[in-house]
Amino acid sequence: MQESPKYWKGIEELENSPEFIKNAMTEFADFLPVKETHGTTDASVAPRRDFLKLMGFGLAAATLASCEAPIKKAIPYLNKPEEVDPSIANFYASTFFNGQDYNAVLVKTREGRPIKLEGNPESPVTGGGLSARAQAAVLSLYDGARLQHFTKKGQKIATDQLDQEVRAALAGAGRVAIVSPTIISPSTKKVINEFAARFGGAEHVMYDVNSASALLRANGGVLPAYDFSKADVIVGIGADFLGTWISPVEYARQYVVNRKVSSERRAMSKHYQFETNMSLTGSNADVRESMKPSEMGAAVVALYNAITGGGAASGSKKVAQAAADLRRAGSRGLVVSGSNDMGIQTLVAAINQQLGSAAVDTANPSYVRQGDDARMARLIKDIIAGQVGAVIFYHANPVFDHPMGEALGKALEAGKVKTTISLNDRLDETGKRCLYAAPDHHFMESWNDYEPKRGYLSMAQPVITPLFATRQAQDSFLTWAGSPTTYYNYLRQQWQGLLGAGNFAQAWDKVVHDGVARGSALPTPAAQIEGPMDVNSAMAALRGNKGGGIELAIYEKIGVGNGTNANNPWLQELPDPISKATWGNYVTVPRAYAMEQKWEQGDVVKVTANGHSVQLPVLIQPGQAAGTIGIAIGYGRQDAGKVANDIGANVLPLAAMRNGVISFTTAVQIEATGTQSPIAQTQTHHTIMDREQVVQVASLKQYQENPKEVTEYEKVATPDGLEAPDKVSLWQDYEYKNHHWGMAIDLNSCIGCGSCVVGCQAENNVAVVGKQEVINRREMHWMRIDRYYSSDASREDFEEKGKLDTYAAMEDPSANPSVIFQPMMCQHCNHAPCETVCPVLATTHSSEGLNQMTYNRCVGTRYCANNCPYKVRRFNWFSYYTNEKFETVNGHMFTDLGRMVLNPDVTVRARGVMEKCSLCVQRIQLGKLEAKKEKRRPRDGEIVSACAQSCPTQAIVFGDMRDPESRLSQLLRREDGERAFHALSSINVQPNITYLTKIRNTDQLDFNV
């Protein structure tokens, strides 16, 4: 039997706050004004007479307008490219490496314009999955805030003139520096090196916003390549490797290899996580302990001592347990740390070495972080001192995203550097302080190569003609260095060496087609300017580290990341997996501390450290370590574009340099300001009947004992005794002759990363609604990921310990709850409650098991949404594509430029209609048609929904349940009676979406083991 832990959706539910009770009782959102997005007065309600007048006018206008149909033009290509056919999508392999997040991608283009990114299944590094940020990158291509031409002092300048001036300025500049984030392109590096050589040994400085400098230094200047699939015991120390740390898509893919269970394979890896903030990785861990950043050193020392010395660890129970497990696992153990502290990283490297971990490969390192904090800090100091003659910022925005950015900005404004050139794609915080701007192409307009890991190459190719008068940065470098070649030719030349003898044209075509190749081209990264620490001094440093007061841990969010892509509304509106907050950052505080300070969620506090302060609202975060707070980077942009500007606050100035690296943890002063600022959370908006029926979880021990016992199946009382709910039915069953589409979602593999949410948004033209509308509970995402916190009280406790004590006990683990993610979308019920209540038959059932939503028939009664037990239907309260209130956040639907991102096969829904997940019916129809054209049945795996396609861990399996050989059918057969369950099965709506019970690698469902 399950232990039936109680799950709650958020702090509000746990506390039974008045707001929550009100919402829970009413179930449906109470009336919110539509005329104004916020604030309501009687005057704002349209009087009836106005309504009649408008209706009369509307009728007359409609009649008049329909008298003459507008003339529509059909404009063919002037010279049709052979491989492009209107309405047939082409896929091109490319590579995404923006914001230091690597992903091999396939770009789906229609009529020559990219409309969606998908993971490149041939990539050995990232596979077919894709991160949320990479999914959203297609929207950034059409970002109107991109700089559309070259500028000097913000004024348009001709390319030739800029080249001339820059060449002259660089020739007499003296010391030239190039600042960039990590560059993993071998050819680009070579171009930069040649450019540097041409200008008196110009210095190329790389830095990473979310720096891994300490990790690099501790490993002799390289970033080890990790393979989580080779680890049975994983200990994460503040490393959010599933969410934001180094290469999350790659790691997530490896991580789930040992997390997928079946009755044949009842073993899982064990994952310990020690961290300050509640991270995505921590929420997936089997054992998690929250600790202050200053305590982490001690924990690592304890771990190190236990593993090297053999004695018991001196730290907490969980640390001791982790140490014991690691020792047992030996080379199948792995310790990773996201800390940018030299001491910690030195010890972690030593631990892995001691274990002989097979999961760490320093011989074939990863290249995605090469930044050297010390070098960057020295350069900024030199710039401030006026010792640099010219600086080129190549995709680097240190004024915003470096802790010393403010001083740097002032130095640039004061003209401490004579020649400053920005190659950034927009006039951002750094770019607008530069003399020249020579904007780079978007990566989808460029040729480039990449080497994320030694031996693994990938390629980017242009998939659209440059939208603006920009120039690829590498071409700018080549031009300024006086090279006559173009970067494309340069690249080909480089690859001629790589691909070796033989037919180069053919080999090149293959590489461009596949997008990935094997081989190595990157030179060994330059050594860090400060050397590694030895273990003893690391231990000494960590022992000397005494924290005090409230400690701040700066973290990165999955959506906006380091802020490079902040102007992307899809990412801004992507709910944070843990806090479910959108549009902005906030201070995450532990509940006990908030209660002590009498703060409520949304109270604005002032956090001061390092001579800087930020004012942000408070968000009560379960799992936040006592005595700590967390703030995300990437927000507080000033010059990113109208979407991102002035959203949240920039926390990076609060970070300081320590031991030559940026320290993302620091002691802070915190004080209330007395003001309030609401946080737009999607959290408790969708109150569902009863938790136990929705998510199911069991421990690995239970699963090993009997897989048939881990899932609780609801029974209903009938005259013949208890029966499965689907034995009793009011409705006739459908007969599926042709196909029966469905999905299975493995809660064990789902890490909650949100990639599917953005993938669905891109595929289905889902509108962005903005902060206020999210607060109004009107977000439009067809797919959401529900996050449940648990407490460890069980039903039996009520009898054993008494009700009051149990209720009290239920609150205890809220300091460190276990977390479950559950992707939730239309369940395509076979007995759908929505279908029976629609007065106009706008939502009907198809002969293939789909719950169809017909927009042109919908009159907007919203009965269906009210009758939906899963609350997955979304109502279009506004014309999100014409209403000026949404012009900022949903701007891509307003301009011709932005509209190019829309999927032409999916209708943009009008105001007043209901919409919801269609199970990507456009993809189903296309797949069927392709099969029919080839006179065969569709092959399994040929048709996948956008969410299943984008999932890095393949938690979502889409398929035809009528095909007994499909992956889905096999999975359902295997898991039937074991882990497979339907959400809310007792109401007998018979969904076509099946969930698989989550299994935690613990003995009991309790974190206090």
Binding site: I71, A74, P76, K80, I88, T844, S846, T907, Q925, K933
Partner: protein, 450 residues
């Protein structure tokens, strides 16, 4: 008495009126249904849904060196349509020679290298190749990346099609369809003209009758006036005139007129409202006076030659000028209309055709589903396109029109592995009813709306 008579009179009027109205509408409806039959039912059922594949499977062929394996013929059919039909027909000279009897003219060992790379063969000095090349205006046949087996299946298909009177390519079958349409049209026209003559004769007879009666009445009146023995009452009767104001004042008449008026207005309004957004017959002027009659009708160019993606994509794309240039770089280069194309190419300004067939954005329509899979001819929906100087919208393109066809049209399942099990399932359950598009879910909302 008076009132009773009046009532019966009014009833008579009403009956007469109703009779005329119903007669008129019946005539109109009859015409409409006749037209409808021609437009909808005949085309799809007799012409449209019989695809080339079915015809090819008929045992008419098998006279060549190649095997007549039906699977190979079916494969060859698809390949032929996809690759060859743009320039070749089996029994007709189009751009290239008619391919019927190719196996008798040339051995396979010649045909295969010729299809793979004709220019190589010409360059090698092969007599027959050079002869063909010169005979057809030195137009080079493009090279095809086809395997030997594929070429063999194409040849098998050609052999199976040899000598068939109904030419299997799209246009020709379409032309066949039009003769049917024309025929019925003519019959229909005849019927209506004889009806007209009858009506005219009737009207003339009536006029003659009335005139005769008036003349007789006048003569009789004159005769009576001549008589002196009439008393006052008789004179009064004789001089009595019909009082028209009585009719005008009669409530019955007023009521009838009012009702008719209201009904007429209502009818017109409803008709008008139903027609809102309907653009059947829409025939805009195009920037270039391109004639489908000349190209598709007289020159028999396959539709897919210009509308290249009609068998493979949602859109049946409008040809880009480079396709026009395949011929018009040589042909009719002096025509002012063709010069417009040259100008467009020179100025790099694409030609802005006016779209004739406009579906609302909320409706998804895919050409390849209907042409390649459904086996429909272009004419089924686009009408006698090969007779159109200027293209007009032939079909209503309303949802009712779509749905009707989906309800009536049997699925084109022959030889399509996708449908095999479905057909079996259908036949075992209710084989008596045809397996239509809608019985396979073809009228469900999200088949077209998403």
């Amino acid at each position: 008495m008076d009132s009773i008579r009046l009532r019966s009179l009014s009833r008579l009027f009403l009956a007469l009126l109703l009779f005329f109205v119903s007669f008129g509408s019946a005539v109109a409806q009859g015409a409409a249904t006749a037209a409808g039959e021609v437009g909808s039912s005949k085309n799809p059922s007799e012409v449209g849904v019989t695809p080339g594949t079915v015809a090819a499977a008929a045992p008419a062929a098998a006279a060549g060196a190649t095997t007549a394996d039906p699977a190979a013929i079916a494969a060859g059919d698809a390949l032929f349509k996809g690759n060859c039909a743009q320039c070749h027909a089996v029994n007709d000279v189009v751009v290239g020679p008619a391919l019927g009897g190719i196996t008798k003219r040339r051995p396979m060992s010649w045909i295969i290298p010729w299809i793979k790379n004709s220019s190589k063969l010409v360059a090698s000095g092969d007599d027959y190749a050079v002869k063909i090349y010169n005979q057809y205006q030195k137009q080079q046949m493009p090279s095809f990346q086809l395997s030997d087996a594929e070429i063999t299946s194409i040849v098998a298909y050609i052999t199976s099609e040899e000598g068939k009177t109904t030419v299997p390519t799209g246009i020709a079958a379409g032309a066949g369809a039009t003769t049917v349409v024309d025929g019925t049209d003519a019959a229909n026209g005849e019927a209506s003209s004889s009806m007209n003559i009858l009506l005219i004769v009737l009207v003339v007879v009536l006029i003659v009758l009335v005139v005769t009666l008036v003349i007789i009445a006048n003569i009789m009146k004159d005769v009576l006036r001549g008589r002196k023995d009439l008393d006052g009452r008789d004179v009064e009767q004789m001089e009595q005139r019909f009082d028209f104001s009585k009719i005008y004042k009669s409530t019955a008449v007023r009521g009838i007129v009012g009702a008719v008026f209201v009904l007429a207005v209502l009818y017109e309004t409803i008709q008008g409202a139903m027609g809102v957004g309907l653009t059947q017959g829409y025939q805009p002027t195009q920037p270039i006076a391109f004639s489908h009659k000349l190209h598709a009708g007289e020159n028999q160019i396959n539709c897919a030659y210009c509308h290249t993606s009609v068998y493979k994509a949602k859109s049946a794309n409008i040809p880009s000028p480079n396709i026009c240039m395949n011929c018009h770089s040589q042909i009719k280069t002096e025509s002012p209309e063709i010069k417009k194309i040259y100008r467009a190419i020179e100025r790099k300004q694409p030609i802005q055709w006016v779209r004739v067939h406009n579906l609302p954005d909320l409706a998804y329509f895919n050409h390849s589903q209907h042409t390649q899979v459904g086996g429909l001819e272009c004419q089924t929906c686009h009408g006698p396109i090969q007779n159109m100087e200027v293209v007009y919208q032939y079909s209503a393109l309303t949802m009712g029109w779509c749905i009707n066809c989906h309800r009536e049209t049997p699925l084109n399942t022959k030889g399509n592995g996708y449908y095999d099990n479905l057909v079996k399932l259908h036949d075992t359950k209710n084989g008596a009813v045809p397996f239509t598009v809608s019985s396979n879910g073809g009228t469900e909302c999200s088949k077209c709306h998403y």
